[in-house]
């Protein structure tokens, strides 16, 4: 049939006419429907502007804090050994695969071939060793710091061959692989690492292996990144490995929040960082994309100083835990984008378990516990014991804009059950100076903190290995120390997860940590024309996979 059809109708002339007609029709159709047809295929080209409130203080790669503003730039200019997504899932990136020994003290990383830094240096095993060494030790006398959250158990790393690295630890370090996916662990060219701090501080002189390179920058003003055309080693987890689609990304500093949002509204910029939560509803209704990714870490909450009266009494701490209406905090201060805390670590952290029952609002239970502890309500509605008022001073976290509003709400909620709450709001400098974990006048220290791996949590809570001793318990709580030691020496997540669950339950039951909300540290207001960005485990937006329509 087909054969007959073709032989009868498709003379050379007819063929010519038919093909040109089809071609013409196709052209017309494509011209008219171009955006619709290509919706599934990312288009190359385009420039975007990202308005940000700060670009942090230094560009020495090691010296920028794990969740500071520079992370946005580093995320595009550099690669990491592994990729950690928003759910904490670890997947290959520059390291294609890895093995570890039974007690997690030795790791072998197998690197992708053909990866180069933008200065032409190959990203091989010796480059990885140079990076691991400086992450661990820094060069302090030159002003290059170690990375604070890099495992302190690190011993050494060896290049076995061009694409194989062996890493040795002095003790079990289950968190090593996830650590490699976080912001601090960015791979920098050995040539850059060899430079003195003053050279490394010039962003233009830093070479990474990322999908973008620094085109130009001016301190306190802007950083312009342009696409690297030969990039071909993106993380498989984001579904794209070739060059980025957007030609350039410009990070521009605009410190006034309303201006950032207004600039996106008027089409002068594509993304505004850190808008106020109250504005989000109307922006969403106006068609803007709002992203409020959560990061992996502790929830926003209060670490209680158990040395200080009356917080040395477990009943008072438990009353505190039950006396807070967390739902009301979300409804009043935030939007539905925020989530209730279910533990003292964020629910997307691998190993986090749901202990909502311990965090339910139960003012009756709180009052009963306080009565039992001997704090009786006076005629003014405030409880007292032996002539002392039941009081609490909250130091609002200057790093979190909404902190004070939450404190005010907590003051009301606790006020109802007879607590007198004072609120102190200091600037960053004064806060750093006066407010410390377990400080002699600080009953509750507010935490907002990302971390690398749930395994490190336990040692932060106590004072083991220079731990931060959040609850001022020292070595006094046997059960907590036991859990800490077991978690630190667990060689697999199968062994560790039940222990982590037990730890979460214990800390919440004891009222050592009072969660407030899960934290959304960063808010992105984005033009609807920009699509396809990806948020990683510390809630940074990557525009490597993004496209923009004109």
């Amino acid at each position: 049939m087909t054969k007959r059809f073709s032989s009868r109708f498709l003379s050379r002339r007819r063929l010519l006419i038919t093909t040109s007609a089809v071609a013409a029709a196709a052209l017309v159709v494509m011209a008219g429907l171009n955006p619709v047809q290509s919706a599934g295929v990312p288009q190359n080209g385009g420039n975007i502007t990202f308005l940000i409130d700060s670009l942090g203080s230094t560009w020495i790669p090691n010296n920028s804090a794990i969740s500071s503003f520079q992370g946005h730039i580093w995320g595009h200019v550099t690669d990491k050994l592994v990729y950690v997504d928003a759910d904490g899932k670890v997947s290959p990136w520059i390291a294609e695969s890895w093995e570890q020994n039974d007690n997690a003290t030795q790791f072998t990383l197998h690197l992708k071939k053909g990866v180069t830094f933008s200065d032409g240096t190959p990203l091989d095993a010796s480059a990885v060793v140079a990076n691991l060494d400086i992450w661990y030790a820094g060069r302090r006398n030159e002003g290059i710091n170690p990375i604070g959250l890099f495992p302190k158990t690190y011993d050494r790393a060896e290049a076995v061959d061009a694409t194989t690295v062996k890493v040795f630890f002095k003790a079990t370090t289950l968190g090593f692989i996830p650590t490699l996916g976080y912001h601090g662990s960015i791979l920098i060219s050995p040539k850059t690492i060899a430079q003195p701090a003053s050279q490394q501080a010039d962003l233009a002189k830093t070479s990474g292996s990322g999908p973008y390179v620094v085109d130009s920058w001016k301190e306190g003003d802007f950083v312009k990144l342009i696409r690297r055309k030969d990039y071909n080693w993106g993380p498989a987890a984001v579904g794209h490995t070739g060059p980025a689609h957007l030609d350039s990304i410009t990070y521009k500093l605009v410190s006034e929040p309303s201006l950032r949002v207004a600039a996106v509204q008027s089409g002068q910029a594509d993304v505004a960082y850190n808008a106020s939560p109250q504005e989000l509803k109307s922006l969403k209704e106006a068609g803007f994309t709002i992203a409020t990714p959560r990061y992996l870490g502790f929830v926003n909450g209060l670490a209680i100083n158990t040395k200080l009266e009356p917080y040395n009494d477990v009943k008072v701490r438990q009353a505190f835990q039950s006396g807070i209406n967390r739902k009301e905090i979300l409804d009043t201060v935030y939007t539905p984008d925020w989530k209730l805390a279910t533990s003292f670590i964020q629910s997307n952290v691998p190993g986090a378990t749901d202990h909502s029952d311990l965090l339910a609002y139960n003012p009756g239970r709180a009052e009963k516990l306080l009565d039992e502890a001997g704090w009786t309500k006076g005629s003014n509605g405030i409880r007292s014991k032996d002539g002392k008022q039941l009081s609490l001073t909250l130091y609002s976290n200057p790093y979190l804009a909404t902190s004070k509003s939450i404190d005010e709400l907590i003051a009301q909620q606790l006020g109802k059950i007879g607590w007198k709450v004072y609120i102190r709001a200091y600037d960053v400098v004064t806060f750093g100076e006066k407010v410390k974990f377990g400080g002699p006048a600080v009953p509750a220290y507010e935490v907002t903190r990302s971390f690398i791996d749930a395994g490190t949590v336990a040692s932060i809570l106590t004072d083991a290995n220079n731990g931060e001793n959040w609850f001022a318990l020292g070595e006094s709580d046997k059960k907590l120390n036991e859990l800490r030691d077991k978690i630190a020496s667990a060689a697999s997540t199968q062994i560790r997860d039940p222990l982590l669950d037990e730890l979460q339950k214990y800390v919440l039951e004891q009222g050592y940590f009072i969660p407030r909300t899960q934290i959304v540290q960063w808010i992105y207001v984005q033009s609807p024309k920009l699509k396809g960005e990806v948020y990683n485990g510390i809630a940074y937006a990557s525009y490597y996979t993004a496209t923009i329509s004109e």
Partner: protein
């Protein structure tokens, strides 16, 4: 130019150098007695995850644990030799940081001064020649109005109206011509108020003089009367006010730069103060001192040349009589 003038000039020059050095030392002392030290504040950011021991090691590496006098001496001797050191915050050379931001601020400040002068002249002209029923009184109220509206409010209104609503300039291209002009308008408006006040007072004074009446009697037109006869004698004290306005322009540039998303000396100071970046702060304060001292030096050196009645070296200085003589002199006493 006689020897009295030269020795006067030399003495003023020495004074200028001393002022700059004192400003340097003063900044050092003030920042040093503030609570906390710069490195610790950055390192203590909980996101860094440094232990107390690590922090102490880093502080020692930076030499911040040495006695304060030793640190001052090192800083001062470097400063005298022109070495401004590295920024503690960014580890980049202070001279580079300043060279990056200075042009933008100079452009903004000089455009702002131009706007202020033009606006002041226009208002002053209006107060003399706009008929009362068309709002002369209203014009006289302008300087007080300009002074009472905060700088940043003017800036935000300008940005929202001309930037976002009318789309005349893009906030993200903060160094474009129109963006700079609107920033200069925001900066120049309050400054114009002071200049206008002095100018109006002097014009009022001059307009009552006999020569003005004669000129009017001869039928001289308003514009010529203003430009040829009234403006010149009224302008001499304005020179003093402009010298003072330089300070206001530099100070105001901090807010204007923040609002308009510009980078300049103002934003550098803001970042350095918040992180107690001592080397940068000292360099900027010294720079400000240099500007002030230079402007005053020029004013002081120019005055005796303009007006021979001005006495040199010590003794009460005599300036041409103006309605604003007192306020001008008190401020000068402070800055020199």
């Amino acid at each position: 130019m006689n020897s009295t003038y030269l020795s006067y000039a030399a003495k003023r020059l020495v004074q200028a150098v001393v002022v700059i050095l004192l400003a340097y030392v003063f900044t050092f002392v003030v920042v040093s007695i503030l609570p906390g030290d710069p490195i610790t504040n950055v390192l203590r950011d909980p996101q860094n995850g440094f232990s107390e021991k690590q922090i102490q090691e880093i502080i020692a590496a930076q030499g911040l644990d040495r006695p304060i006098l030793v640190q001052l001496w090192t800083a001062l001797s470097n400063f005298v030799t022109g070495d401004l050191g590295l920024s503690m915050r960014s580890n980049r050379p202070v001279t580079t940081l300043i060279a990056e931001v200075l042009p933008s601020t100079l452009i903004l400040a000089s455009t702002g001064l131009g706007v202020a002068l033009a606006l002041a002249a226009a208002i002053a002209y209006g107060t003399q020649f706009v008929p009362r029923r068309f709002g002369q009184g209203l014009l006289r109220g302008f300087p007080s109005l300009f002074l009472s509206v905060p700088n940043f409010v003017i800036g935000l209104v300008l940005i929202h109206t001309f930037g976002f609503q009318l789309g005349l300039f893009r906030v993200i291209e903060s160094n474009s011509f129109l963006a700079t002009l609107f920033a200069a308008i925001a900066l120049g408006i309050p400054v114009s108020a002071r200049i206008a006040e002095v100018l109006i007072a002097n014009l009022d004074h001059e307009a009552e003089q006999e020569y003005a009446a004669v000129a009017r009697g001869r039928g001289l037109g308003q514009v010529r009367l203003f430009a040829k006869h009234l403006l010149k004698p009224s302008s001499l004290p304005v020179v003093t006010v402009i010298a003072l306005a330089i300070g206001e322009l530099l100070g105001g540039s901090l807010i204007t730069e923040t609002v308009f998303g510009r980078t300049g000396v103002g934003s550098l100071v803001q970042r350095s103060v918040s992180t107690q970046d001592l080397p940068v702060l000292q360099a900027v304060v010294s720079l400000a001192a240099v500007v002030f001292v230079l402007v005053n030096l020029i004013a002081d050196l120019v005055y005796p040349l303009l007006d021979p009645r001005v006495k040199l070296i010590g003794g009460p200085k005599y300036r041409p009589t103006t309605a604003d003589e007192n306020s001008a002199d008190t401020s000068r006493a402070v800055t020199t």
